[in-house]
Amino acid sequence: MSKEIVLIILFMTVVTYGARVIPFILFRNISLGGFWKSFITLVPVALLAALVIPELIISPENSIRLLNPFLVAGICTFIFARRVSNLFYSILFGMIVFWGFDKII
């Protein structure tokens, strides 16, 4: 195992675990209401949008491209997952559709 990779893993672990645990330590005895309650329940929703939507329509050259395998496979996966509520099948379906359209487009 190379020393550099070990250091990289260590660095990644520290920043990731830090982000996971710090709010638990700082805010563990605080109960939230009103605005903050709405805010924290909306975080997962906003997060999924930010993780997915840009990847589907921005090309590696940093421009918007609608006809690309990511968007097509993304829409197909979404429709499939709505009908078949099975995580494994839906992911497999998405990967295969992507592979297919990647060959065509």
Binding site: P44, A49, F70
Partner: protein, 237 residues
């Protein structure tokens, strides 16, 4: 009613565990293609346990990026865990710091989304922490084990399949189906549009944190304003 505990969470984690399998296999295979060894790939999953950041990291390692670039990129990509962790505290009031720090390692986008739904229906913080631990352990085991399997496979043969590029996104899209509804679709779309604009304007991954923070703030302000208006109307009646 029988108390729900660790095994209930573990059982519920099966959906994530199975969903992680193709993604972790992909990670393992791609790790080898980017010059990592089987152990390095497995240890990264064991310690870091954060899909998106790991995929980005092995790409950067393959490109020969410095440890500082990789560390900082990981920080930017994973700082969103602060928001998720902050959002989870409401379930665990009074739980010991020791157990909380154990729960923290299992916090991922997927376990967070599942726990957020699951824990709403469970009454005590004690039960919630046990269920969440079950969910996290199940997801964690699947991620680590299938990384090793993928890395081992990648070591045996050269596998090329463009569908690998879509594994992580497919996982996120399936999660979207379960969580977006009429009451929060505005925040979802707003965050998406913001993320597109910010990603094109700002290099790197800062757009993730910015768009989530702004969209959730705006969405929450609208909800808060609506609720206080309704309360006023009730008072007037």
């Amino acid at each position: 009613m029988i108390a729900k505990g660790f095994s209930y969470g573990l059982q519920k984690s099966i959906s994530i565990g199975i969903g992680y399998a193709p993604v972790a296999l992909t990670f393992g295979i791609l790790s080898l293609q980017n010059g990592l060894t089987v152990w390095e790939a497995g240890l990264m999953s064991l310690f870091v346990f954060a899909g998106a950041a790991q995929f980005i990291a092995i790409q950067l390692i393959g490109q020969g990026a410095t440890i500082w670039i990789i560390g900082l990129t990981t920080l930017v990509v994973n700082i969103r865990h602060i928001l998720m962790s902050f959002s989870m505290i409401r379930f665990f009031s009074g739980i010991s710091l020791g157990r909380l720090s154990l729960l923290a390692q299992g916090l991922t986008d997927e376990s967070f989304v599942l726990n957020s739904k699951l824990l709403e229906d469970i009454r005590t913080p004690e039960e919630r922490s046990r269920v969440a631990l079950g969910v996290n352990v199940g997801a964690f085991l699947s991620w680590v084990i299938f990384t090793f399997v993928g890395a081992w496979l990648g070591n045996q043969m050269n596998i090329t399949f463009s569908g690998f590029n879509f594994a992580l996104l497919a996982l996120f899209i399936v999660l979207t189906v379960g969580i977006v509804n009429r009451s929060n679709v505005f925040t979802y779309l707003f965050a998406g549009i913001l993320a597109i604009i910010l990603k094109m304007l700002i290099p790197g991954k800062v757009y993730l944190l910015l768009s989530v923070a702004i969209a959730a703030t705006v969405g929450a302000l609208i909800e808060y304003y609506r609720e206080s208006k309704e309360n006023l109307e009730i008072k007037h009646e």
